[in-house]
Amino acid sequence: MVTLLTDRGEHAVDARVDGERLWLDASTLEAATGWSLEPQGLCRGGACVPLPPGRHAEFVQGDRVDAAALWRHLDGPVMHDETGAVWALGESADDRGSALLSLIAPDFTLPDVTGRPHSLSDYRGKKVFLVSWASW
């Protein structure tokens, strides 16, 4: 099992690691990241990014996809630990930047001190003063 850290959380997934390659089922990639493999390429939320022509086999073998290669193709950062047991996939700078320029406040869910989760979207209908602080 491999631990996959994505914007959608932490996922324990069945995967085969081969150096910088991370082979997993296309359905697993979709569950963990929202990106699905379609005939026209990688798609999420109605937008598709084609795979490079003639290089399909580098990304897809049978039901499995190289999630790391696909992610790099999307310009997203990919990092993993020394053992290859933990992989982190981040959203691309373009996607983060576009989200901010949309002016739609990015939603998140975080626990309070009792462990109860709160989402920003729970407070829709109020003016929210969202402020960071820290003990340090």
């Binding site: 002016l103 406040a105 402020v131």
Partner: protein, 222 residues
């Protein structure tokens, strides 16, 4: 820190959500117990808020309207860098620096009140073009830094401290503007504050650059 503001405005459709960028969940608890806030205080071990909103320090804030729209992007939450003039031995602040700090905070709090009262008619609620222009620029290095930070925190939580710390160092290297990443990793003094000599060296290295970017708001010190 925000309790009085929240108490006075909570019946007017206003809420404070305070997010502690703290990777060790026990660290913020004494502060929360002392302040007894009645607004939500959330714990953000992976600095997710900073990743999503382009924050680099605390306190920074975003103003969000009833429809979930950003009307003021990430900016210093009225904090001003008077502490740079502090006497580091006695921890005393010169009176003029303390006054600028207090004036900045008062101006900022008054602006929040104006927004809660007047909504989009408040001069402090930015129109779309102005709000977009003020959004932080997210670079490939910044998104890489947050992935490294998250991976590092994950490893540290599983006892792989040395490897995790290396990722945190990589995160700071990739995103040197983030004081949150740097101070989270730094050593702390007897007060639990990351203000050991290496902090002051890093502050001094700023030179004319700012620790808190000035808030672009009428009445704010420059």
């Amino acid at each position: 820190m925000w309790q009085a503001l929240y108490e006075s405005l909570k019946d007017r459709g206003f809420v404070v959500i305070a997010v502690a960028l703290d990777s060790r969940p026990g660290d913020p608890l004494p502060w929360i117990e002392a302040a007894k806030p009645t607004y939500p205080c959330l714990i953000d071990r992976d600095h997710r808020l900073a990743e999503l909103y382009g924050m680099v320090n605390v306190p920074q804030a975003v103003w969000i309207d009833e429809g979930g729209g950003i009307v003021r992007p990430t900016e210093s939450a009225g904090a001003y860098e008077g502490f740079r003039k502090m006497n580091r031995a006695t921890k005393e602040m010169p009176a003029d620096a303390a006054k600028v700090n207090a004036d900045a905070r008062a101006t900022y709090l008054a602006a929040i009140r104006d927004w809660v009262e007047r909504g989009a008619r408040s001069e402090h609620a930015l129109d779309h073009a102005a709000a977009r222009a003020r959004q932080p620029r997210i670079t490939p290095e910044i998104v890489r830094a947050h992935v490294a930070f998250r991976l590092g925190q994950h490893l540290i939580r599983r006892g792989r401290t040395e490897e995790g710390e290396r990722w945190l160092g990589e995160a700071s290297r990739l995103h040197p503007d983030s004081w949150a990443m740097w101070r989270q990793k730094a050593g702390v003094n007897e007060m639990g504050l990351a203000s050991l000599p290496d902090f002051w060296e890093r502050v001094d290295a700023l030179g004319a650059r700012r620790y808190y970017a000035p808030v672009d708001m009428k009445g704010m010190p420059g």
